[in-house]
Symmetry: C2
């Protein structure tokens, strides 16, 4: 458990942004249903043995432009393939999400079930199945019980409500301990305003490209399908692709942006893009804070890179080092593990230019030990949130990743997940 306790609140949802967002943001409640015209629901229909909520539905009421980013894992789950096909025309109306099973590595039966679940949802909504996306999360290789899901879809559809976002967010959790929602209104300099809402889940198999996670984001700002994809791609690159809990890429990752539209005087794409990035960043930070066994949240910034992409790549090399992450768990200012991870990473560096800071304490400069106060360095690693900065001395670009330590609790959780 985190020293500060777990919280769904993101302390610094702008961690991913180098400059402030265009447009003034005001927080809203309601998650995905903060956007007018979007209804959602979450119910316990019997997919999880625990009896916890396990089926969620988000419905825009009509087909709308959609953006979709999915896992790049070659072992993609059935719902990943079905959703890709259904979103290929750039439009979708609803997203059905279940916990309790990933419906991955379930063969032809799993593929049929994923398609059938879209059919059942379409029947309940009087919609077209091709406008329904499906997402699953849970254990790989465990079939979803078809009769339970078939009976559950009308139940959750009947529960759809304009304030159902929080229920939906609560029905997609696995080992998550808190539901994850975010929503903002955004107003630009000319008084034009829009709303972006979102929900997400993900606490294990969390890694860039993508983190193991599901998220649904809605907006009342009209965007065509190309714009929705463009906005989502950028937001994912800077948020969900910059968090990692264990460096493992899952079979089921999906982020959906439903451009519901309806705003009467909406801001332009650049403004809503920053708001979408903000909501995604908020959800991403909540995921890391609720990560399995997380004791410390690490704000890892790489500076002095030639490009932002290289900065992020160096950050991932450090964040995926189990030696770095166990050192953070122990509050041990072992900066050698940071530079070793950088040197073993994919980006060409100049070892003599490397620097490392823990909080405000410079522990390594010019690639060698700095004269530093060990007690101060240990103190910098003692809080629930710690900052680590790696300087490359090669350029002006930078990137921040959020990661976590590797603790005893993580091992306990993951040594016995399926049983």
């Amino acid at each position: 458990m985190s020293p500060g306790g777990k919280s769904a609140a993101a302390s610094n949802p702008g961690w991913h942004a180098h400059a402030g967002p265009r447009g003034a943001l005001e927080p809203l409640g309601g998650g995905v249903t903060a956007v007018p015209g979007v209804r959602a629901a979450g119910r316990a229909v019997g997919l999880r043995a625990s009896g916890k909520p396990d089926l969620a539905l988000v419905d825009c009421g009509e087909p709308v432009p959609v953006g979709l980013v999915q896992t790049r894992n070659q072992v993609a789950a059935a719902p990943v393939r079905v959703s890709a096909a259904h979103a290929a025309d750039g439009r979708a109306r609803a997203v059905l999400l279940n916990s309790g099973s990933a419906n991955a590595c379930t063969g032809e039966a799993g593929e049929s079930l994923a398609r059938a679940s879209a059919d059942w949802t379409a029947d309940a909504l009087e919609a077209n199945a091709a406008d329904v996306l499906v997402c699953s999360t849970g254990v790989i290789g465990v079939p979803i019980r078809e009769d339970v899901l078939c009976a559950g879809v009308p139940t959750v559809a009947a529960a759809l409500a304009t304030d159902g976002g929080t229920d939906a967010a609560g029905a997609i959790l696995t080992t998550d301990t808190v539901a994850k929602e975010a929503a903002v209104s955004v107003t630009d300099d000319e008084g034009r305003t829009g709303i972006v809402g979102g929900m997400g889940k993900g606490v294990g198999m969390l890694a860039p490209g993508l983190a193991t996670m599901l998220a649904v984001v809605t907006t009342d700002v009209p965007l065509d399908a190309e714009a929705a994809q463009r906005v989502l791609d950028r937001a994912v690159a800077r948020t969900f692709n910059r968090i990692t809990v264990d460096g493992c890429m899952s079979t089921n990752d999906a982020v959906v942006l439903l451009a519901r539209g309806g705003a009467t005087d909406p801001p332009p794409e650049a403004v809503v893009a920053d708001a979408v990035e903000h909501v995604c960043g908020d959800l991403a930070e909540q995921m890391v804070r609720d990560g399995e066994g997380v004791g410390h949240v690490v704000h890892l910034t790489v500076t002095g890179a030639r490009t932002e992409e290289e900065a992020a790549d160096v950050g991932r090399a450090v964040a995926d080092s189990v030696l770095f992450r166990t050192a953070i768990a122990g509050g041990d200012p072992n900066w050698g593990r940071v530079v070793a991870a950088v040197g073993a990473g994919p980006v060409a560096i100049e070892p003599d230019r490397l620097s490392v800071r823990f909080g405000d304490v410079t522990v390594c400069e010019h690639g060698a030990a700095a004269a530093f106060d060990r007690a101060a360095a240990e103190a910098a690693l003692s809080g629930a949130d710690v900052t680590v900065e790696v300087g490359l001395g090669l350029g002006e670009a930078r990137a921040t990743l959020l990661t976590s330590d590797l603790t005893h609790e993580y091992v306990t959780i993951n040594a016995d997940y399926t049983t």
Copy 2:
């Protein structure tokens, strides 16, 4: 601690070989000094605060052809750079190895000290400094105490003995719990015979390319420098590059092959190459068995690959998955984590052809759950040694890696290493 207790003995030192070695092998004692004409020593000279042995020297008595494989980490330690320079002419006489400090990220002073230590060794041996290689292991960024090392070199040189291999092996340990030695005589079909001896260390920052490790191998079979390098490259690719404890590449890895020569009727290169691979494989297995916090040693075989290299790459993707490794720690037959790691890895696969076996129990076939007895699968993961086989269904090539689980003890050891 391993369920079966830690042991320096390798149960199956041929794990890396697809066919048996050319030539009959007989185990010998003595490690590096199993080879006539090689002397070695290990002493406690005060580099480690614990007072444990911390300085080792291996001496061939005259410059001999040398093969050298070193870390590819861009943040290479000073001794790595100095040894590369001294071995550039293909000849070396002696190797000085210290524990207590990696002499990495120690700036100009560290580089000067590495060179000076070769000078001191040369003085003590009446040799040329350019024929002395130097290796260091320990914490990164901690300077070696120059006065202590300067005084220690003559001490260890004075202790050189023809039966000093075991002392030397004991002086290069860090968090290793047992010294690691191996030696064999090899005799081919025509009665020609040679000897290969070796010692090594390495239990953390253990990953392919290279594992974080030091090893010195000696042979009385005459090889020129090109042959020594060729023999060593192949052996390392199949042994030290196929083990991983934590996926982290260190700053200090080095493997040295000293072709001392002297055998009166030596076998040809192909025979000694297999014997060198055997000794390296034995040392590599000892490293994994003594790995930090290892509870289970995992014999991970990838079959049905297009090439041996792709088989090894798939194996590394699985072995580096912390989710796979925590599942093994818990004896949890969560095969979904295996296929997820394969799918996220660098090799193009056909998901529908994947199979996974834990011991003799097939848990996944055709990319989906097999009908299997859970108790039998758990039993297959319960021993100190477990076997995991991943079938790709793409070709005939295969490779075996040795890795380990990720345990609470690993976290404990690594959360507080420098303090």
